[in-house]
């Protein structure tokens, strides 16, 4: 047996022994996700146990170094783990902005002290993070942000407002872009971490069209932050911010993979007897399966260090537009059943609410237009883009 084959065998039997049966069923809704953190209410013992054992093994972040709470696995081993989890239908033990966004940025830009302090907690799901990028006047034009961060000698003093902060009311800490200098637009931004329980932080929920409210306006009023909580150099936060956005886009592009084809559509919503709709679904399947092949290829490229830095933008764009299309088709296939806001026929409103939620996919993490602009500029090298 090769090393990889024996790793597969070991992994399989470890998962068999350690993944609770309840954690091998598909999630019913977004609410089934495990977010961890100081105040997280686990929905079941199984959910808590699954996070604990995976966290102990470092398998919530299999490819991070073991020294920082990761699994220390090679790319090939990580792939095997993913495949074996998929084979038994294991749920993701932890949904976490810490893992998908902050972690990679800390690994690249953090000090040794920051890495040992924050990464293991992220890996074990002990701290829940939120992202403080957008502001009322700074969305697509993110570098237009105004939140002030002043050097007060022994601490930073933060004043300003963020918006669209997902789960700000549930998060323990925030990673945040702040203005440390007004001399240059991009060159005056710093990347700051702080505790959401700090004095002067408040949040106010924003209700979405889907009826959910995981988003907040976040206010900072004379928030004191310790000096060692800036990642990277002062005024050089834009590089960190962009690096992190690449990872955010990578994560969001995964939405294109959402349980995908006509089979799922038909299974959940009954036979599609309209030939025009059936044709649309067939073409959608082609796009969905092709995109899945692209995602796999993209991940392989990333791991091999061969992906163009602007490729996450292409993937984010394609994946989110595909996901929106999927939910349009689900609605079409469902007919009036899918319109019921809160009934069994729409699976408790899953169909219409998810459909509405997906409309944000092409906005959050940078809009589709912004992604296309990045591809035009950095990959196609079109002038003045």
């Amino acid at each position: 047996m090769t090393d990889l084959e024996s790793f597969r065998a070991e992994t399989r039997s470890w998962l068999e022994a350690n993944c609770p049966a309840e954690m091998r069923t598909p999630m019913r809704s977004e609410d089934d996700a495990c977010w961890g953190g100081r105040n997280f209410q686990f929905q079941s013992e199984a959910q808590e146990q699954w996070l604990r054992v995976m966290g102990e093994k470092g398998w919530t972040v299999p490819d991070w170094p073991a020294a920082y709470g990761g699994g220390g696995l090679s790319p090939a081993e990580t792939k095997v783990l993913r495949e074996e989890m998929k084979a038994i239908g294991a749920r993701n033990p932890l949904s976490s902005f810490g893992i998908s966004m902050l972690g990679p940025a800390l690994l690249k830009y953090g000090t040794e002290e920051q890495k040992t302090r924050f990464l293991p907690e992220i890996a074990r799901g002990e701290i829940r993070w939120c992202q403080g990028y957008s502001e009322p006047g700074a969305g697509s034009d993110l570098a237009g942000l105004q939140t002030r961060c002043e050097d007060k000698g022994d601490h930073w003093l933060v004043n300003g407002q963020k918006v669209w902060t997902s789960y700000a009311d549930k998060a323990d800490w925030i990673f945040c872009l702040v203005r440390t200098s007004t001399e240059s637009k991009h060159g005056g931004i710093s990347f700051l971490l702080f505790d959401m329980e700090s004095e002067g932080v408040s949040t106010k929920p924003i209700l979405l069209i889907s009826g959910y409210s995981p988003f907040c306006e976040t206010f900072f009023d004379d928030v004191k932050v310790p000096k060692d909580q800036i990642v990277g150099e002062v005024n050089k936060g834009w590089d960190v911010a962009k690096y992190l956005l690449g990872h955010e886009r990578e994560m969001i592009s995964g939405m294109g993979l959402g349980s995908g084809s006509s089979r799922t559509l038909a299974a959940s919503l009954g036979e599609i007897d309209d030939p025009v709709l059936a044709a649309e679904v067939a073409l959608f399947d082609v796009d969905a399966i092709a995109f899945a092949a692209m995602s796999e290829h993209f991940i392989d490229q990333l791991k091999a260090g061969e992906a163009h830095p602007a490729m996450p933008s292409m993937m984010k764009y394609a994946g989110t537009e595909l996901n929106k299309k999927r939910h349009e088709l689900i609605m079409a296939a469902g007919g009036s059943d899918a319109l019921e806001w809160d009934s069994e026929r729409s699976r408790g409103g899953k169909a219409p609410r998810e459909w509405l939620r997906t409309k944000a996919n092409s906005i959050e993490g940078g809009t589709s237009e912004v992604q296309l602009g990045i591809v035009a500029k950095h990959i196609l090298r079109l002038p003045g883009a």
Binding site: D285, V286, A290, A293, E296, H297, A304, V375, A376, A385
Partner: protein, 374 residues
């Protein structure tokens, strides 16, 4: 999928060779302008043989390189990028795949490896690819068969030394059982070959069979068991055609993006207009996705994975649609110059149209994906 070093070498070799020798000016435009009856150059076919490409898929034991669908796709992509006319797809991939492991293979492979033999495959009987509907009959007669019926869209049919003909030996139209694949030499008595020029200046034949007598040993594989070699050959064929379309789409896009960087209107480079940037960026993504799907199909074929069948349909359907988008955007963004014969962009449009149709168009393959997925 990350290519191996060997695969990269093949791709690089094909890339530099075809960018040098397979260009539109040297091949496609040249043969068209002189009204060549083959639509491609035999010299180039010989040169490809010298590089080992004609025998790419022929087993090593029979003098070939013994390579797989992935290498084939990488070469096809470069063929597509340069719009290089050659019998590579029909001969080196489709015919070789169909004849692999058979006596017919032993007979024809040496010529193919040497770049002397051209092969074609005859499947379609109407304007749409419907392989199960094959009605051309092969009746037993003497110690062989007599073929009667018609075929069309037989690419390179008039230039081929051998034509693989899918015929019905039993059953009826609509069934996959009862088909048999025959290797018919082009001189076979009773076969009429009408050489037809296609939109892209390539040549395809309409064939009429009037009791064409073939020996029993012309059968490739088993009598009534033709679906199997045909299916294998078509999988590789559509994956190859998909790769060629990915290459053509990429070639058209490169030409277009270059134009956007040079052409000035309203005192600006037109590439500065965001509406064009976004369409170009969208197109870029679509081509990448089509390429990933095509390489995935090839990878699954090489692994002998069950999912190779459906993935080859996905690849053909996706690449067909993407190539169509690429050439339409290409001509549009070139403005008026793109409508001229003098400019090469129009060649991409014409080639993409033919390739989309070859071995089944996007609609056909999307329907197959749905049928197989359900």
């Amino acid at each position: 999928m990350i290519l191996t070093d060997d695969q990269r070498q093949i791709a690089d070799m094909a890339k530099s060779f075809l960018a040098e020798e397979g260009t539109i000016a040297k091949q496609l435009r040249h043969w068209r302008d002189i009204g060549c009856k083959d639509g491609f150059g035999h010299d180039l076919w010989k040169q490809m043989a010298e590089l080992g490409l004609t025998g790419l898929a022929v087993p090593e034991a029979e003098g070939g390189l013994g390579l797989g669908a992935t290498e084939a796709a990488l070469v096809m992509e470069e063929v597509g990028r340069n719009l290089t006319p050659s019998p590579f797809l029909t001969t080196a991939l489709v015919a070789v795949e169909a004849m692999k492991g058979t006596e017919q293979g032993k007979h024809w492979f040496p010529g193919i490896v040497a770049g002397e033999t051209v092969a074609a495959i005859a499947v379609d009987e109407g304007p749409h690819h419907r392989p199960r509907q094959i009605a051309l009959r092969a009746e037993r007669s003497g110690n062989g068969f007599a073929l009667s019926g018609t075929k069309q869209f037989v690419v390179h049919g008039a230039s081929a030394d051998v034509i693989l003909v899918a015929a019905r030996t039993s059953g009826s139209a609509g069934e996959s059982d009862g088909l048999t694949l025959f290797a018919v030499p082009r001189e076979a008595a009773g076969m009429t070959v009408e050489n037809v020029a296609l939109t892209d200046s390539s040549k395809a034949a309409r064939l009429t069979f009037d009791k064409v007598a073939v020996d029993a040993d012309a059968v490739i594989g088993e009598v009534d068991g033709g679906w199997e070699p045909l299916r294998r050959a078509m999988r590789l064929g559509r994956t190859g055609a998909a790769a060629e379309m990915v290459g053509a789409a990429g070639g058209a896009m490169t030409m277009t993006v270059d134009y956007l960087r040079q052409r000035k209107q309203f005192g600006k480079l037109i590439g500065e207009f965001q509406v064009l940037q976004h369409r170009a960026a969208h197109l870029f993504g679509e081509i990448e996705i089509a390429r990933a799907a095509t390489l995935k199909a090839a990878e699954l074929l090489d692994k002998g994975d069950d999912k190779a069948g459906i993935m080859s349909h996905v690849a053909k359907a996706k690449a067909g649609r993407v190539a169509t988008l690429a050439v339409q955007e290409g001509v549009q963004m070139h403005g008026g110059i793109g409508m001229t014969d003098e400019h090469d962009i129009g060649f991409y449009m014409k080639r993409a149209k033919v390739l989309d149709s070859l071995f089944g168009d996007s609609s056909y393959h999307a329907r197959m994906v749905q049928v197989m997925g359900a």
